[in-house]
Symmetry: C2
Amino acid sequence: MRRSVFFISDGTGITAETLGHSLLAQFGNVSFEQHTLPYVGSPEKAREAVVRINEVAAQDGIQPIIIDTIVDKEIRSIIASANACMFDVFETFVGKLETLLGEKPMNAVGKSHSVNTQTYKTRIDAVHFALDNDDGARTRHYDMADIILIGVSRSGKTPTCIYLALQFGIRAANYPLTEDDLDSESLPKALKEHRSKLFGLMIDADRLTMIRNERKANSRYASPQQVMRELRAIESIYIREGIPFLDVSEMSVEEIATRIIDQKHLKRRISSN
Amino acid sequence: MRRSVFFISDGTGITAETLGHSLLAQFGNVSFEQHTLPYVGSPEKAREAVVRINEVAAQDGIQPIIIDTIVDKEIRSIIASANACMFDVFETFVGKLETLLGEKPMNAVGKSHSVNTQTYKTRIDAVHFALDNDDGARTRHYDMADIILIGVSRSGKTPTCIYLALQFGIRAANYPLTEDDLDSESLPKALKEHRSKLFGLMIDADRLTMIRNERKANSRYASPQQVMRELRAIESIYIREGIPFLDVSEMSVEEIATRIIDQKHLKRRISSN
């Protein structure tokens, strides 16, 4: 079973996409053909969108689904004229919020992804912090870190740090435990001094072998023996040193990041997005 | 006016937060005290959440708002017993989708942020591509790039590239045009060869002066004269070379990224969020 879906917004389209993906994921037997139409901010653009939706409806022989977060009423009513089934997110919720709060909505487009100087700075600083403190490159700024991820090579540290920075403004460093570190069976000095900020990533041996083989096929680095040896050594360090850790084998970057925030009670530094 | 809001999920909480921020941004006169409760995945955790919500309700003297994306019906009904006004996203939309599609929802938690091996790889590869090709560090992989951002120092290239990678799996490189490049009034050879992939960032002089001053206060680099000179030179290169560009002074990273996708007709390589 196949169905076309349009995520439509007069802003970035990110809210419509995020909500839409969550809803559609509940229907795993349906194959959704997804289109995102952002910045539909004028009646003219809305009419172009309607033409496109109607073409897809004619091709499919069945009404597409629209999930929209359009703020402007006129634009919304043009979209509503398409040959489609419309899930109108703002109309559904904003009216109810208006009644509850006793306040008029601003009906301003793109408010949640507009730029706020302080938020922007916090976020960009966090991204640069993650890049500058990636992969153990430097350890002298660890006093400014909110969290320091440790783990073996390719266990997911870098994308998690970057996601924590972009999404939440959290300053995340990461340090890969090398073979020397693992052999010495103790934490490097730079890490010992910041023990309360450490969080370990753990990963399934088969999955790590696969990931490393994609990077350096048939190398010692990617061999099952080497992977197994490193994972055993690092797990015993986590346990002996009392470092909290998480098996991330089945997790997306979003899940790793939000589980770490939850477990370490990290404070979000930005609340936008 | 102040109001407490709880974003609650049995998964990461990202969908509830993203939608919640978009909705609340429409009520700019209200100060929202935001709490996110992710991984509320058991009746016990749900009851703990209810206790916390009721405490906040008692302190505030007014019902908090709940925006939830809880999949499990039992957990949802426990949360619904709190002294709060609940905006139940899945209940609102999933039933309607079920009727429309003639399919039962899977009622499985965290589906949209669960890991899919191909998506994971595409995404992580894109993140490593962005890091390896950041700041003009290398130019020899530009044939593999989907887009190459150019601009003066601190105009927002790096965060935008990383966001394109994490959110959409797009391979984005960036190259800062240096003073030498600007003085020579022509594009470096590495860029000329990939002209169709180039996209320029432009930024307001006052804003760039402020950003650079936060980095290196009172330097020549951050002086209004230098900033103005660089911006004039780069704008004339964009125009002369026919490179599309965007004034990002008032834009969030999300907006810069999605506007570039829209203008350059870039294809999303992943559709999960």
